[in-house]
């Protein structure tokens, strides 16, 4: 398997993992909103809290985490950009 293929396999892996987490925080928990709301967090009903803050914060964390992971993959396979960094 060439380096490029390996890189793409790993990139796809990262994408699927990221989207799985996204699916959990964006959809799965709201399928059970009714029962979640009987629990509470910081005094807020849980489903309300996830909607108002929880999931949004989770999305931000997922984005940074996934971007770092992808940078490692690029590094590993020798496709990291040099010289024109931010």
């Amino acid at each position: 398997m060439s380096n490029k293929e390996k890189h793409w396999e790993k990139t796809k892996g990262n994408m699927f993992l990221t989207l799985a987490l996204w699916f959990f925080f964006g959809y799965i928990i709201f399928m059970f909103g009714e029962s979640l709301n009987s629990a509470s967090f910081l005094g807020y009903p849980l489903a309300y809290y996830m909607c108002a803050q929880g999931s949004i914060v989770a999305f931000v964390i997922i984005l940074f985490w996934s971007a770092n992971r992808q940078e490692k993959i690029d590094e590993e396979c020798g496709f990291a950009e040099r010289g024109e960094d931010d």
């Binding site: 490029k4 890189h7 793409w8 990139t11 990262n14 994408m15 990221t18 989207l19 996204w22 925080f25 964006g26 959809y27 709201f30 399928m31 909103g33 009714e34 979640l36 709301n37 509470s40 910081l42 005094g43 807020y44 009903p45 489903a47 309300y48 909607c51 108002a52 803050q53 999931s55 949004i56 914060v57 999305f59 931000v60 997922i62 984005l63 940074f64 996934s66 971007a67 992808q70 940078e71 690029d74 496709f79 990291a80 950009e81 024109e84 960094d85 931010d86």
Partner: protein, 612 residues
């Protein structure tokens, strides 16, 4: 004061700017104490900020093609994040979101999840690859990946339709705010708003829009957060409202049970003479509606807003401006960070303003009080005079019930400082923030349409030999034409029949999402497939919208897919047709395959040249 290149000095420049703005707020507060009128303060706030944006726009003027289209691809990660956040958060987000939560509670908050989670799709499926591609516009990618002018043209059509649906609402919002703050008629306010918008973008294109959007983000986030923290601390709800309003949310539940959530019959509302667009609270704040259908309605709205986010060209094109692929990816994360600062605050603002009106134990409470007493409150008089609020005593008992208090959604943000008894300087600040939010989004949208028409239609299809001067001239001319068209439609006050902002997301996802994503992720996708997908997706989505929208044919929604969610139909059709047609036509040639391989790795040259 500032040595070296502009880009190296960004933190210093914007730090100074933020400090200067805070000093301006303090000066206004002092002037208010000294007796300056509310009207003058409002005018100064809006005029001062708009002049700064215009100054930035003028400083960023350019004659370079890549500076005009993609800000020279030199915008640092964090600043691009701020610019995207301003680009993203429209007048609607700023003014109407808290109002939406105020009336819709948990049900409405599906928008919060949809308008944030979409960025994960942007980051993992599109932004880094489009940046590597090196395109100037979104149709540029479609046109080069699939080849041919027809594919490019279809993408331009979808882009124009989606963005134009969105932009009239933004110009409308700038007009409303300018009219209120400057005390001029709405029709004039719309044109004042348009001139301010064009001042930011005309001379410098994407470069100017980028640096004004950063400035606008700073104004809008200060204007949104300051009142919330102030009210929360003043009312003793906790010094950090986001983590400390649990009790208040629970209290709202008690009050809802006490007053009862009554949905007024449409006939009663009409008979009482309630002005259009005003609503009363009839949905619970934090309670999740029961049943599978309610959960599906929540989730289907989330799907549409998320997928729509990942297809809206004015957002995608912001990631063409970063210096590298890696920076594009990080920049998406920063964008969502800056967006989240406002979005996580909107429910808190809704909670606080709802409580201050509903709790009879508070001095500000009006529900459950004598109507004659309520009618003598200053802000109630002011807003009812403007037909933004209304009282209808349905049961004739002289007491204001929850279902008898009608209000416009926008009023929640605009009136809260006043209701809570904050000084007028805060209301002036909120007006400046709303103006910044509406202007920044309008700028991004108008630029997206004008760039697609000038680069993809004029330069790539009509006159490929045009020189740089002519191309930029056409681009600027189109900017004015599109802005004027938007302002003209807004000034006719027909935006209510143009439908919701949500439609822009549905149009974009119907026609663009799968052609973009499969263009990167599926090598087998062919030109014929993409063209067929875009046409059938957009057509079926639009047909379903006409079929289901109450003001058009008004048929019952199928599986709860109403006019806010028609993108589900469009995007599904687009996917199926695109896959089937692609498999029926010969696979793309080897040079296209190689191009896709190149797009998938961050290193190496961009597919399209630096100037093209």
């Amino acid at each position: 004061m500032f040595k070296g290149k502009f880009i190296d000095n960004l933190p210093k420049i914007y730090g100074t700017y933020t400090g200067g703005f805070l000093v301006f707020i303090i000066l206004m507060a002092i002037a208010e104490q000294a007796g300056m009128t509310a009207k003058t303060i409002g005018i100064l706030f809006v005029a001062f900020t708009v002049c700064i944006y215009a100054f930035i726009g003028w400083m960023s003027r350019t004659v370079q093609v890549d500076a005009y289209y993609v800000a020279g691809r030199s915008v640092p990660t964090v600043f691009n994040g701020m610019a995207t956040a301003a680009d993203w958060m429209s007048g609607a987000s700023f003014v109407a979101m808290a109002g939406g939560i105020y009336f819709g509670g948990y049900t409405y908050m599906a928008f919060l999840i949809g308008w944030t989670g979409g960025y994960i799709l942007v980051s993992s499926l599109l932004a880094p690859y489009l940046r590597k591609f090196g395109c100037y516009t979104v149709p540029d990618f479609i046109g080069t990946r699939y080849g041919g002018n027809l594919a490019r043209f279809c993408a331009v059509v979808v882009l124009t339709l989606a963005s134009f649906t969105y932009v009239t609402a933004q110009i409308n919002a700038t007009g409303t705010i300018a009219a209120r703050a400057l005390s001029i008629p709405f029709e004039l306010g719309v044109w004042v708003g348009l001139v301010s918008i064009l001042l930011c973008s005309m001379l410098g294109g994407m470069r100017a829009v980028t640096w004004t959007q950063v400035a606008q983000y700073i104004v809008l986030i200060i204007a949104y957060l300051l009142p919330i923290f102030w009210i929360s601390n003043k009312g003793g709800y906790g010094f950090f409202p986001h983590l400390m309003l649990g009790e208040e949310v629970a209290r709202l539940g008690e009050l809802e049970a006490q007053f009862g959530l009554v949905k007024n019959a449409a006939a009663d509302v009409k008979a009482a003479g309630v002005p259009g667009g005003l609503k009363s609270i009839s949905l619970p704040h934090s309670e999740v509606p029961a049943g599978g259908m309610a959960a599906w309605k929540f989730i289907s709205l989330v799907i549409c807003m998320m997928v729509g986010t990942a297809s809206l060209p004015h957002i995608l094109m912001r990631y063409f401006t970063t210096p590298s692929v890696k920076a594009a990816r990080k920049s998406v994360a920063w964008s969502l960070f800056f967006i989240a600062l406002l979005y996580t605050s909107a429910p808190m603002l809704a909670t606080l303003s709802k409580l201050s009106l509903m709790d009879p134990n508070l001095a500000t409470g009006i529900i459950g009080k004598d109507i004659s007493a309520v009618m003598s409150i200053d802000w109630v008089q002011a807003w009812t005079a403007q037909k933004q609020a209304f009282i209808a005593d349905f049961n004739g008992d002289g007491i204001l019930q929850l279902n008898e208090w009608f209000m416009r959604g926008d009023v929640v943000v605009l009136s809260t400082p006043e209701v809570a008894g904050l000084p007028y300087v805060i209301s002036g600040l909120v007006a400046a923030g709303g103006m910044a939010a509406a202007m920044s989004t309008a700028d991004g949208l108008i630029l997206a349409i004008a760039n697609a028409l000038s680069h993809d239609v004029y330069y790539k299809i009509i006159d490929p030999k045009a020189d740089v001067r002519k191309r930029l001239l056409v681009a600027r001319g189109l900017l004015i034409v599109i802005g004027a068209a938007g302002a003209y439609i807004a000034s006719m006050r027909i935006t209510s029949i143009l439908g919701a902002v949500a439609w822009a997301f549905d149009f974009a996802m119907s026609g663009l999402f799968f052609p973009l994503v499969l263009g990167v992720w599926w090598k087998r996708a062919t030109r014929q497939g993409a063209i067929a997908g875009m046409i059938t997706g957009l057509a079926s989505g639009t047909a379903y919208l006409i079929y289901v929208y109450p003001k058009f044919m008004g048929n019952p929604a199928w599986l709860g897919i109403d006019h806010l969610r028609f993108g589900i139909i469009g995007a599904s059709v687009c996917l199926v047709v695109m896959v089937v047609v692609s498999l029926m036509t010969p696979a793309p040639d080897s040079s296209t395959q190689k191009m896709i391989d190149e797009v998938r790795i961050p290193t190496g040259k961009t597919i399209l040249g630096k100037q093209h």
